[in-house]
């Protein structure tokens, strides 16, 4: 899967400000909306929160992959956020989350949506990458780290 095609610089937020789970989700969805990738911000936030209600997408080692299905997008949309200080995201290992990969996919359209999450998770499991992402200075550097 070609991550370069899906990861865009304008949807990378190198320094998230929010300090709650809901706040991070809202900030990232706003970032997507600002980049012109959404038609309805509220519906998108609700879709991600609904998925979080079922089970948190906070994984291990500071990684979270919030995602949802909504008709506010007409294709797979991705945003990447970094929170150097960390946010409580109800993660599996109880640790705060620092690296957020958010995806939104249309409700009834087939496509490699979960596959993208799996691929990006595989990339994030590379040793040393998480540290380099946390110390990345800007969106270009983050994009470069995730796609090379």
């Amino acid at each position: 899967m070609n991550l370069k095609k899906l990861l865009m610089k304008d949807s990378i937020l190198p320094e998230l400000k929010a300090d709650t789970k809901k706040g991070v989700i809202e900030e990232m969805v706003s970032g997507m909306a600002f980049a012109g990738k959404l038609t309805g911000k509220t519906a998108a936030i609700q879709a991600v929160l609904a998925r979080e209600e079922k089970m948190s997408t906070g994984m291990q080692n500071g990684i979270a992959i919030p995602h949802g299905k909504t008709n506010a997008v007409d294709q797979l949309v991705v945003a990447v956020g970094i929170h150097p200080g960390g946010v409580d995201f109800d993660s599996m290992d109880g640790k705060p989350a620092h690296i957020f990969i958010m995806t939104l996919s249309p409700e009834n359209r087939a496509g490699p949506h979960i596959q993208f999450l799996a691929e990006i998770s595989k990339v994030l499991s590379r040793p040393g990458l998480r540290e380099r992402l946390l110390s990345a200075a800007n969106a270009d550097e983050i994009l470069n780290l995730l796609t090379t």
Binding site: M1, P112, I114, Q115, L117, A118, S121, K122
Partner: protein, 557 residues
């Protein structure tokens, strides 16, 4: 217009009309005969195959061949009259013993057969055991070819080694049909044994080299038939041309297959993918023939090219029905072409040729196996596993007959050899696998690259339900999911380089997946588990069962 000119024109128009009507009538008659012949062939081939398999415990292909021999023009076929048409299978006075129309259908069947053989080629196994497989395949091929060719000279069937008849008899003897061996090894759970994988890798090499040999031989015989003479310089040119065609087409095929299937997948329809792929196989078969090689070479290359793509299972499954319908027709038509009176004259030659074909594979494949890592028992197993000849031998024999490189007698000999080797291989192979290991020293098992993880559910029904949802979810993610022909409910999931297996046993779902592909498998199951819990939650909001029951059934009594 004067009256005489008018009369002449009318007469011309009437003559043309009469001619057209006669031609239409003869076409209708021809098609009627073809349809009836085909009906008879399909039914008899299927019944023959069934009877051999069910009651004689023999491979169905033998039944199909025998059915063809019985109903062919040299046996009952010539004696079965059709009212107003004549015998069902009349002996043809020129060319092949069967009609061109029937031979055309058999040719299409052989293209389908070789396309599917190419698709079923496991290049990964071949790469893993490439060295020993190469030695085993090459050894079997060389010894078979040389003995087959010399046998023709010894019996005076051909004047020299380079004579087309001798070359064809050498080529017919080379091609192993590993399908029968694979079925036996699977039944005996020996497919993944060192002998099993060596046979499979050897068979891939045998196929590839055999097809190249065929390409060279067909090329050479075409030169000879065109009035040219063959010296070693010509052989070199023909071999280079054949190898060049093979290498360029295979390399291009393997390089471009992903891009090709990528474009085809954009149609979003498995039917379009299958139809266009088959169309391309036929096209490359035609191009191969135009390049002076045999049609099956192009079909095999197309199959081989697509064998590493994610649509391979889809193609195999979808074409299975076409294969089941056409391939027995091919074997039956091959059986029909056996002229018993011509064959009788060459019977002794046929028996010696068959014995040499058996010896050639046991020695040619067994010796390289013995010289590398197998003991005598292991080497014998490998030699016996490579023994059966089948479809390719028959196709080559058919090409030889149609190009008049071999006569009816040698065609019959080829059928006899195919039948003897196919008959002998299963019992000998089963017997040879009794007893201790076939390796000379205990060699550590091949590194198993896949890992298995399992998820357990409260009941088999829940596991079954989730399995169906998983299949749909993977399809939704644009994966190709195909049910495997195994006892347990198993599916192969493929997309580009990703390939793993899902299987369900009772309340457990097992996933057998390479370590670097675990993420997608685990994520999908995880997401489906969540949707299952949603579903269970939603079921709590349903109306009471009593109310639903009375709505559904209440008014029936």
């Amino acid at each position: 217009m004067n009256p005489s000119a008018h009369a002449a024109e009318t007469a011309t128009v009437i003559a043309q009309t009469v001619q057209q009507t006669a031609s239409a009538n003869s076409h209708t008659e021809l098609m009627t005969l073809l349809v009836l012949q085909l009906a008879f062939i399909i039914i008899c081939a299927r019944l023959g195959g069934f009877l051999f398999q069910r009651f004689l415990k023999l491979p169905s292909v033998l039944g199909e061949l025998v059915a063809g021999m019985i109903i062919g023009p040299y046996a009952l076929g010539a004696k079965l009259p059709l009212p107003g048409i004549g015998p069902l299978f009349a002996t043809q006075t020129i060319g092949l013993p069967v009609s061109s129309e029937l031979y055309a259908i058999a040719t299409i069947a052989s293209i389908i057969l070789l396309f599917l053989s190419g698709l079923a080629t496991d290049l990964r196994v071949f790469m893993r055991y490439s060295v020993i497989g190469f030695l085993v395949g090459l050894g079997g091929l060389l010894v078979s070819f040389v003995l087959g060719d010399f046998c023709a000279i010894w019996f005076g069937m051909a004047p020299s080694f380079m004579d087309p008849a001798a070359l064809f008899l050498g080529t017919i003897s080379t091609a192993t049909s590993v399908g029968i061996t694979a079925r036996i090894l699977t039944e005996k759970h020996k497919m993944s044994s060192p002998e099993g994988v060596t046979i499979l890798a050897g068979a891939v090499i045998d196929d590839v080299l055999g097809i190249i040999v065929l390409a060279v031989v067909v090329g050479m015989t075409k030169v000879i038939h065109a009035g040219g003479t063959m010296n070693w310089g010509h052989v070199g040119i023909v071999a280079l041309k054949a190898l060049g065609f093979w290498i360029i087409c295979t390399a291009l095929g393997l390089l471009l297959a992903r891009q090709l299937t990528g474009v085809l997948k954009r149609f979003g329809s498995p039917e379009v993918i299958v139809s266009i792929s088959l169309g391309l196989a036929l096209m490359l078969a035609g191009v191969s023939e135009m390049a002076g090689l045999a049609m099956i070479i192009g079909a095999y290359i197309m199959g081989l090219s697509l064998s590493r793509t994610d649509v391979v299972q889809e193609l195999q499954n979808s074409l299975q029905g076409v294969y089941d319908m056409f391939v027995p027709v091919f074997f039956c038509v091959m059986g029909m072409m056996v002229d018993f009176s011509a064959m009788r004259k060459a019977l002794l030659f046929g028996l010696v040729y068959s014995l040499l074909a058996i010896f050639a594979k046991i020695a040619g494949c067994g010796i390289p196996a013995y010289l590398t890592k197998f003991n005598f028992r292991g080497a014998l197993r490998i030699g016996l596993g490579m023994l059966p000849r089948g479809e390719v031998a028959l196709i080559v024999a058919g090409i030889g007959l149609s190009t008049q490189c071999i006569g009816q007698d040698l065609f019959g000999v080829a059928i006899l050899m195919t039948m003897i080797t196919t008959l002998m291989a299963p019992p000998l192979l089963v017997k040879s696998f009794h007893g201790p290991a076939g390796l000379r020293h205990s060699v550590p098992e091949a590194e198993e690259k896949e890992e298995v993880f399992s998820v357990e559910f409260a009941s088999p029904d829940i596991a079954d339900f989730l399995m169906q949802r998983l299949v749909r979810a993977f399809q939704h993610e644009e994966f190709f999911v195909n049910r495997l022909q195994m006892e347990a409910e198993s599916y192969q999931v493929r997309k580009d380089d990703i390939s793993f297996t899902l299987s369900r046993e009772g309340g457990q779902i097992h996933v057998s997946v390479p370590p670097d592909q675990q993420h997608i498998a685990r994520f999908m199951i995880y997401e489906e588990l969540l949707s299952l819990s949603d579903l269970l939650e939603a079921s709590k909001n349903m109306k009471s069962l009593n109310a639903m029951g009375s709505e559904l059934i209440g008014n029936l009594f």
